[in-house]
Structure formats: C-alpha cells, structure tokens
C-alpha cells in the first residue's frame, strides 16, 4: 500500500539570534490511506513543525512532500487544519468564520450556506451560526475550529493538539465526536499531541518523537473500534507504551 501523504528527508532550520536552530533533519513520515496517525512527543520537540512543514506554513530547507505518490509543493494538497487554539476571527460570526475558509477553498457561493449549516450541525452548533466566537465557551470555539477544517472537505485533516487546552470533560466529548466524524468521513488524520492517553485512545499508529526532533519509535494501536475510552485494555497499552517511551526519553 502506498502512503497517501508522505514527507521524505524533511529538514527545517530557523534562523535565530544565536545562529541556526535545527528543528529536525532528514525526517520521514508517511500517512497511509484512511489512517489516524499521531505524532507524540514532549513539548517543544518540533511536532507542530512537522505539520507546518507538510502544510507549507514553514519553509523546508530540504526534503520532498509527496501526495498519492507524486512530488508536490508543501501544502499543495487538500487539507484542513485544526490548531491548538481555535484561531477564529473573533469579529466575524461563526458562520462567517466557516465562509472565510470556504472562500479560500474556492467553494462556490451557492454551496457555502448549506455546507456551513451541515457542518455546524454535525459538530452540534446548529444554533450558533450567528453568534460571535467570544460568546461561546472554549469547547464550543474548538468545535467551530473542527467544523471549519472539515467544511472545506479536505483529503487530510491536520490537528495540532486541538484538545489540550480544554478541560477533561469537554476534551473527552470532543475526542468522541472526532472519532465519530472520522469514521463517517474516512479522512486521513495527522494528529499531534503530548498526551499519551489521547494518542492511544484515538490513533491507529503512533510515532514517537524525541526532544531532538527525531522519530525513535513507532507503535500500532491494535484495539477495535469504536473504542471505549474507559476500556482497561487501552490503559494497559498506554502503560506499556509509557515504559518504552519514557525509557528512551530518560
């Protein structure tokens, strides 16, 4: 099976006042069709930059991005991005926030209204189309972020710790809904987190990144879906992986 989205030999360096800073060098990553892949690592190791490099939001010093086997410019594939913070336009209504993304994706005007309605409904915010983001709770705002990313009907969903700033109950609700949406839409998801429990609960496969920005391990999460978040077997997998993971990180 060929990977759908593939990064090869990815190298990102930033210029800083103290000279060049290597975020990662020669990194390979493959997202298989229909896969929920998670990049897991400690804070500041460069996980987010992996997403941003593939998405063309940070310049690559070296490396190739391939989509469906063909080399492409970074970001020149259909993706939706869910950020760590909702990153909504606070001065536009919820519906207008989605419309902003739809215009960017070139969705014709006639189609936008129904798409917005559909996706707000699917994330449970059908009644909030005319609300301003500041009138919503943190969890609701992040739902808007998810709806915005899915509304552009992307092939791949890039998610950068989207639930890490939410409280436990809200985060749980959103994770459950995300898995449901993923099941319905069959998108590939490339997910970033520093939370092992979250990685185990959501993913098909987890890539472990060390503090130097290299992948040092990889694990398949074999559990059946739909998963029960309180399933002790998931907890057992988490414990086993934690040993491997933290042994390496020392």
């Amino acid at each position: 099976m060929t990977a759908l989205l593939e990064g090869e030999d990815l190298t990102v360096r930033f210029e800083t006042d103290d000279g060049p800073l290597t975020v990662f060098e020669g990194l390979d990553v493959q997202v298989e069709p229909g896969e929920f892949l998670t990049v897991m690592g400690p804070s500041g190791c460069g996980k987010t930059t992996v997403l941003n490099a593939l998405a063309g939001l940070v310049p690559l010093e070296r490396g190739t991005v391939r989509y469906d086997g063909e080399a492409i410019e970074p970001g020149e594939f259909s993706y939706g991005y869910v950020f760590q913070e909702p990153r909504l336009l606070d001065w536009r209504t919820v519906a207008e926030n989605l419309a902003f993304a739809l215009r960017g994706a070139g969705v014709p005007e006639a189609e936008r209204g129904s798409r917005i309605e559909t996706w707000l409904d699917r994330v449970g915010l059908a009644d909030e189309a005319d609300s301003y983001p500041r009138e919503l709770s943190g969890g609701m705002r992040q739902r808007v972020g998810v709806a915005r990313a899915l509304a552009v009907d992307p092939e791949v969903l890039l998610m950068d710790e989207p639930f890490s700033s939410l409280d436990d109950v809200t985060g749980r609700g959103l994770r459950r809904d995300l898995l449901e949406l993923w099941g319905e839409t069959g998108k590939e998801i490339l997910f970033v987190t520093h939370d092992l429990r979250e990685a185990v609960t959501l993913s098909d496969r987890v890539l472990f990144m060390d503090a130097e920005g290299a992948f040092f391990d990889e694990a398949e999460i074999p559990h059946d879906r739909p998963r029960d978040f309180d399933d002790p077997a998931l907890g057992e997998t988490e414990r086993r992986l934690a040993e491997r993971f933290f042994a390496e990180l020392g």
């Binding site: 991005y81 336009l89 606070d90 960017g104 449970g124 500041r134 943190g138 609700g173």
Partner: protein
C-alpha cells in the same frame, strides 16, 4: 454537548441598557459643567477685555458668526477646514504606505525607520518658517506642507506599531486555509487594525487642526489662523478665544462621531470585555 450551550452567554444587551447608553454620560456632563463654572469664576478676577466671562464669550462667538468680508466665518472656517482635511488625507495615505511597508517588510524597517524618526524631531515652527521661505505666501501649499510633514510621521509610527500587534497566528490560519491577500486584509488585518486606525484618525485630525492654524499665522492670507493673528495684534483677547470655540465644537462633534463608529465596529466584543477573554475554557 449539553451543558456547554448554557455557558458564556454574554454580549446580548437588554433594551433598558440600550436606552441608557443613548443618554449622555452623567460624568461627562458633570465635567463640562465644572469647566464652565471654573471659567466663569476665573473670569471674575480679570477685566473682561483680558478674560471674558461666559456671557461675554457668548457675545463674542455671536460676533464671530455674524462676521462679514475678510472676517466671514464661512469663508475662513471653510478654508481652514479644507486645509486640515487635505493635510490629513495626504498624511494618512503617506503614513499608510510608509507604516505598513515598515510593518510588513522587516528589510524595509531600517531604511524607512531612520528618516521617520528624524522627521519626528523637527519642530513644527521650523517647518512653518521653511514653508514660507520656500513657497512664499500661498493659499494652500504652506499649511498643507506643514500639516503633512508634522502629522504623517506620527501616524506612520502609529500604524507601524498597530501592525506589530496583529496576531501572527491568525495570519498563519489564513494561509492554511488558502485565503487570498485581499481576503486576508479584509478579514484578518483590518479588523485588528481598527482600534489603531481610529486612534490614528483622532490624533491626525487633532494635530492637523492645530498645525493648520500655526501655518496660517505664518504663511497664508485667509483662514482662522490669519483672523486670530489679526485680533491678537489688536489685543482683542475675547475674539481670539471666540474664533477657536466653533472649531472646538466641531472637533467635539467629530470625536463623538468617531466614537460611535468605533463602537459600531466593535460590536462583536461582549460588553465590558474589551481586550480580554471572557468565555471560560
């Protein structure tokens, strides 16, 4: 889902609140009355030709408004306002190009920054004298020249700083969703720049109006500055003050309009939360 929907219902104002907001703020009414009372009290300790009381002031304003010939208020205020507006518009355009170039292109910051800060150090009187020396007595050129050279650097610095406060994360979001440059300006930059644009407009108009008068004193044949200078040379304190009053009233009106426009533009902010996060996480 449930439970979340009840939270953070802020920002919907009730009708009483809306009526109350339409009435003038009691505090500002009080402060205006206090200034008027202080004026009247102070005037009692001076002879009327040095510092007129409120009645004398009102009479003088009446004289100003009834003026004819070279003291025609419509002519003089019209000419001065025209210069203020032209100076302001030119300054704004120049400041926008200059300030935004500095803000958006780090390479341009050094090149454009140094001349800007040099301009800021030149006293406005020097520009006024230079204007007259270079251009002579002119109808519009000298006042507009002085206004632009003094006002535009302030506005440029303001706009440059305002651009620095724009949230880069939203700009990145716009890129991630393939927003066009026009879309990005319209929905990401401009709304965040609005407070800066309003502040810059206020500053620009206020300074432009003051400078216009100074420039007129030195280098024009008509305008409020010229008339004020005439009354000054005749030691007519009452009329010097009275000529300023209508413009003060006008600037008050402009300020009120700007305030209204700004509140309209910020209606997405829940009440009482300007600049802060309100909704619980």
């Amino acid at each position: 889902m449930a439970g979340e929907t009840e939270t953070a219902r802020t920002g919907r104002s009730d009708p009483f609140e809306r009526v109350r907001r339409r009435l003038p703020d009691p505090l500002s009414v009080g402060s205006v009355l206090a200034v008027l009372a202080a004026w009247q009290l102070l005037s009692l300790s001076f002879p009327p030709y040095r510092f007129p009381g409120l009645v004398g002031l009102a009479e003088n304003v009446g004289t100003v408004l009834a003026g004819t010939g070279e003291f025609d208020p419509v002519l003089n205020y019209g000419v001065t306002l025209g210069r203020v507006l032209v100076g302001f518009v030119v300054s704004f355009a120049l400041a926008a190009v200059w300030g935004f170039s500095m803000g958006l292109r780090p390479a341009a910051e050094d090149y454009l920054g140094a001349p800007l800060f040099t301009l800021l150090t030149v006293p406005s009187v020097v520009w006024a004298f230079l204007g007259v020396l270079w251009f002579g007595l002119t109808e519009h050129l000298v006042p507009v020249f002085v206004v632009v050279l003094v006002v535009f650097p302030y506005m440029a610095v303001n706009l440059w700083e305002g651009l620095g406060a724009v949230d880069d994360r939203l700009v990145e979001m716009a890129r991630a969703f393939d927003a066009s440059p026009v879309e990005t300006w319209r929905h990401v930059y401009l709304p965040q720049l609005l407070p800066t644009l309003f502040a810059t407009t206020r500053l620009g108009l206020a300074v432009a109006w003051k400078l216009s008068l100074i420039a007129e004193v030195f280098g024009a044949a008509t305008g409020v500055g010229v008339v004020v200078k005439y009354h000054f040379e005749n030691f007519d304190t009452g009329l010097v003050i009275a000529w300023a009053v209508p413009v003060m009233a006008l600037m008050f009106g402009v300020e009120w309009l700007l305030g209204r426009a700004e509140r309209r533009a910020s209606r997405w902010r829940p009440e009482g939360s300007v600049g802060t996060e309100v909704a619980p996480e």
